[in-house]
Amino acid sequence: MPKLAVSPRLVRRTRFLAAAGALVFVLLLGASRSSAHTAPTVTAPPKTAPTLPPAPPTNRNDLTEWLEYQRALGSPSLPAVAQLFYRRGVETLRSGGSEDGVRMLRGSCQLDPTFLAPRVALLSFFGTRDVSQSLMELARIVDLAKTYFPFQHYLTIQLAYHGALVLFLATLLAALYVAWLRREAVRHAYAEFLSQFLSQRLAAVSSWALLALPFLVGIGLALPTLFTLGAAWPSLRKSERAIAFLLLGFLVLLPLGYASVSPLCYPDHPQRAPFYGTSDLANAPSTPERLAELEKLVADHPDNPFLHFSTAWMAYRGGDYDLARSEFQATQKLWPNEPRIPNNLGNLAEIGGRNDEAERMYHLASALDPSWAMPHYNLGQLYTREFRYAQASEELARAASFDFDLVRNLQAEAQLHPGDPLPPAWGWLGPNTFWDAMLSEPATPSTMPVPASWRGWLELRGRSVFWVTLLCALLGIALGTLIRTRLPVRQCSNCENAVCRRCASRRRDQVFCAGCSASLREASTPEFARLLLARRRRTVRRASGRWRTAFSTVLPGLGPVFVDRLGLAWGALVLGMAGLTGFVGTPGPFPYDPRVGPLSSMHFNWAAFALLCLALAISLVTYLALRGPDKLREVEPESIKRAVARVPRAA
C-alpha cells in the first residue's frame, strides 16, 4: 500500500491540535463537573478574613505529607523543607539509594520550584545514567532561567563577574609571563647602572632585588607587572604590548565599570529601591508579618508599583481579597499597560461573583497583550461557568495555542483534587518588568564599589587604586624610555641573551654577547663561525629548554609564550582560568541558593578541572610542536662572513 507523503511540520501541527483539542475537552469536562457543584449565579463573596492555616505534617520525614501540606497551603514554596529533602536526597544518593534519592530531590524541586541545587544534582546524577532525564532537568533549569527574574539576575551577574575575573586573570598571567621573559631588558640595565657604584657581583644581586622589589611590597601582582612591562616597553613586541595594554585596560576599566553598575550587582534587598525585597515573592507563602511589612513599605513609598503589586499578591495569597483588589487597582494606576493587573483583578472579580467585571478585565488584559495565554484561559473558565461552552472552547483553544504548558500545568494541578473547580491563573510580574525597573533606577552611590570577593584583589578596588595604576604604568614607561635613551639593551644576535653597548661585542650591525663573541673569535672561516655560533646557540637553548619544558607542563599558556604564540597563550589562559575558577568555586558577588547543608561546603568541580587540564594540554602540545630543534633567529651568513673578516685573529 503506498504511503502518503506528509510533511513533518504538518504532522507536528496535527498532533499539537489534537493534543490541544483533547486538553480543551478535558478542561471543559472538569469545568462542567465543577460547575455542577457550584452555583453559576452570583454567590456571596468569600470571607476576606484568612482561614486557619493547616498544621504541618506529624511525620516530618514523609515527603508525601509535606507535599500535601504544601497543597493545603495553596502551593506556596517551602524553601526550608525543600532544603531538608535536598540534603536527604543527596545523602541517599551517596549511600546508593538511587530511587529514594531521586524521589526526594524531585520532591525538593516541587517544594520550592525556584530551588536550583536539586535540579543540578538531578542533572549530574542522570548525566551518565539517563540522558533523556538529564536533558529534561536541563530544560527545567532553562525554563526557570527564562521566567524567574532572581535567577536571571543571578546568572547575568555571575556570568559578568566570572567572565571579567577569568579574562583579568588570563591577561594578568599572560602579562606576568611576558614580564618574566623580558626581565633581562630591565634587570640588565639595573645591573649596568648599579655597577658604577657597586661591585659586579653585588650589582647583579641588587639588580635582581630591584626587579623583584615591586612584587614584594604587597601591592599585588598586576601593578608590579604593569610597571615591569612599562620598563621593558622598548623591547616588547607588538603582541606583548597588546597584552600590556589589555592589562592596563582591565585595571582601569574593570573597577570603574563595576562602580557604575554596582546597584545591579546585589540581590534584591528589603531596604533598597526599586523592589524592596519583592522580586522573589511569586511563590512565597503569605504571612501576616510579611503583609504588614509590605503595607508599611507601601505607606512609605506610595509611588512604587512593585510594592503595591506585591502587597496585592500577598493579600490574595493570604485570602484578603479586598486588600488585594485595592492594591491591584492602585498598581493599575501606576502601570496602566501591565496586562497582569487586569487579569488578576478579573480573578478577584470572579471570586467575588462579579462576572461582568471579570469578563471586562480579562478582555482588557488580552487587549494589552494579545499573545498572552492567561486571560484567555481565565476567560474560558468564566464562560464555562456561565455555560457559554462555544466561547469557552474558543478561548481555551486560544490559550492552549499561546501557551500549551500553562494550560496543561493548570489542568494537571486540578486533577490532583478531582471535583474541585479549576484554579484561575494568576499572573506574577514578568522578568522584563523587573529588568526595566532595575536599569532605569538612578544609580545610587555605593559605599562598596566592588564586590566583596574582589576586595582581596588590591588592583580592582576601584577609584583609590585607579591613579596608582596609571602612575605605575607611566613610571614604568618613563623608566623604559630612560633605559632606552641611556643604555639600550638588546638581544644577542645569536643566542638572544640581553646585551648592552657596554658589554656587547659588535660586528657591523650585529651584536653578540661575550660568549658568542668568543665563539666568533675562534673561527677562521665564515663557515666555521656559523658552525660555532650554531653550537653555542644550541647549548644556550638546551640549558633553558629543560626548565621551559618543565614550566610549560605545569603552567597553562606558558608553552605558547615560549614559541611566540601570545594570542594562543592568552586563549589557553582564558580556558585554563575558567577551569581553575570553576574547579575551586570562586564565590560570586552573591549566591542564588542559600548556603545551607551540603551547599555550605566547598565542592570541587571536576568538569572544570578537565577544562584546566585541556588548557594545559593545549599549551604543552603547542610548545612541543613548535619549539623545533632550534627556533632562534639565525645570523645572516653574509653578516658572519663580514664579521669574521673583521675579527682580529688570535695568534
Binding site: 516530618r60 517551602l78 526550608a80 523543607v81 614584594l216 555605593s446 562598596m448 545551607v596 555550605s600
Partner: protein, 358 residues
C-alpha cells in the same frame, strides 16, 4: 684638437651635454692640478673612462681598491698577471672570474658616477676633446649621459646638505642605538656600523668605509637622521686617537655600604607609601541583616534555622546546634564587627535573632 678650453668658461655638465646632444664620438680629457681623467664617448653616450691595459692610476683599479671589492692579495695578483701578459684589467677581472660581467658593469657605472661627481666639484681645470674611437674592451659600456648627469647633480645637492649635518671631518661618531633587526639597511650602511665606534673621526670612517666617499657620507647622514649614531666629540687637529674607554673605577666598601643602605631604604619607602593601599577596606558598619555584603550570610543563618525547625519541629536551643547538625559551618556564624544574639522561646516555636556590635 676639436674642442678645448678651461672649465671656468664651460662647466663640465655643459660640455657633456653638448657632446651628448651632438652625438659625438671621441675622448674627453680633463685635468686639474692633481688629477687627469679621460672619458670616452660613443655616439653621445659614455663608453668608458679608462685607457686599455692597466695604467698606474687606472680609475677602475683605484675604485675596486677603494670599495674593497677585492682583497689586496687579489689585486696584487692581477697586477702581476698584467705585467706578464699585458692583458686589459677588464679582461683579467672577467676571465679570471674575479667578478662577473654583470657585477663589473654595475661597478663601472658606480665608478663613472663617482668620477663625474668628483669632477663636478672641481673648481678649476682644463678640458680637451679629440675625435678618437673608444678602445675595444671585454666589457661593452654604454651609459646615458643624461641620467649620469642628473644623478651626479643630485649628489652634489645632497652632499651640501650632508656637509651641514657633518661639517667637520674631525667629528667623532659613536653608536647611539643599533637598528632593529627588521629595519631596512643597505649592505654599505651595515658596514658603516662596524666603523662607528666612538673612536674614529668622520674622515677616518669615510676613508675606511668600503664605499665611495659620497656613499659613505650618504650612509652616515642617514644613520644620523635615524638616530642610530651620534656625534660624541671632536678630535683636535693633531690630537691622539682615543684609546679604550676608561675602565670603571673600583668601588669602595663605604660606597657599597651606602648604596646598599639606600636600596634597603627604597624598599622601606615603597612599603610605607603603599601601606594605605594594602589596608583592608573598612566594613560598612551596618548590621548584617542590612549590610549588602553580609546579608546573604545572614539569610543563610535564618534559612538554617527554618530548616532545623522543619527537621526537628522546633528551633534550635542555640545557634551551635546548627553547626552540630551540619546545616552551617562555624564560620558562617561570624560577622564583621557584630556578634549574633539568639533567643528562643521555651517551646521552640519562635526565636529572635539580632546582631550586637562587638
Amino acid at each position: 684638437m676639436a674642442l678645448q678650453g678651461s672649465l671656468h668658461e664651460f662647466a663640465l655638465w655643459e660640455i657633456v651635454q653638448l657632446l651628448s646632444s651632438q652625438k659625438k664620438t671621441g675622448c674627453l680629457s680633463l685635468r686639474n692640478n692633481q688629477e687627469a681623467v679621460s672619458i670616452y664617448f660613443l655616439d653621445g653616450r659614455i663608453a668608458g673612462a679608462r685607457e686599455p691595459g692597466l695604467a698606474p692610476n687606472d680609475p677602475l683599479m683605484r675604485f675596486l681598491r677603494r670599495v674593497r671589492w677585492l682583497s689586496e692579495e687579489q689585486l696584487r695578483g692581477i697586477e702581476s698577471l698584467n705585467a706578464e701578459s699585458g692583458r686589459d684589467l677588464v679582461d683579467l677581472l672577467i676571465n679570471g672570474r674575479y667578478v662577473a660581467a654583470e657585477e663589473l658593469e654595475s661597478l663601472y657605472e658606480r665608478m663613472v658616477l663617482d668620477l663625474i661627481f668628483r669632477m663636478l666639484r672641481w673648481e678649476s681645470g682644463d678640458y680637451s676633446f679629440s675625435a678618437v674611437v673608444p678602445p675595444e674592451s671585454a666589457l661593452r659600456i654604454s651609459l646615458s649621459t643624461d641620467s649620469i648627469l642628473m644623478e651626479a647633480a643630485r649628489r652634489v645637492d645632497e652632499y651640501k646638505r650632508q656637509l651641514q649635518q657633518l661639517p667637520d671631518g674631525h667629528l667623532i661618531l659613536g653608536l647611539r642605538e643599533l637598528p632593529d633587526p627588521d629595519s631596512p639597511l643597505s649592505d654599505e650602511e651595515k658596514e658603516l656600523f662596524g666603523l662607528v665606534d666612538s673612536k674614529r673621526t668622520l674622515a677616518e670612517i669615510v676613508q675606511e668605509a668600503p664605499t665611495t666617499d659620497y656613499e659613505a657620507m650618504e650612509g652616515l647622514a642617514r644613520l644620523l637622521e635615524c638616530r642610530w649614531i651620534e656625534i660624541v666629540g671632536k678630535r683636535e687637529v693633531g690630537g691622539e686617537v682615543r684609546e679604550e674607554l676608561l675602565p670603571v673605577p673600583g668601588v669602595s666598601r663605604t660606597k657599597e655600604f651606602v648604596l646598599t643602605g639606600m636600596l634597603a631604604g627604597l624598599a622601606l619607602l615603597l612599603l610605607l607609601i603603599t601601606a594605605p593601599l594594602r589596608s583592608p577596606i573598612a566594613p560598612s558598619g551596618l548590621p548584617p541583616d542590612r549590610d549588602l555584603d553580609q546579608r546573604s550570610r545572614w539569610n543563610d543563618v535564618t534559612m538554617a534555622l527554618e530548616v532545623y525547625k522543619a527537621e526537628k519541629g522546633a528551633y534550635p536551643a542555640q545557634l551551635d546546634d546548627l553547626v552540630q547538625s551540619e546545616w552551617l559551618h562555624a564560620n558562617q556564624l561570624k560577622f564583621d564587627g557584630y556578634d549574633l544574639r539568639y533567643i528562643r522561646a521555651n517551646d521552640g516555636s519562635t526565636y529572635r535573632l539580632s546582631a550586637a556590635k562587638k
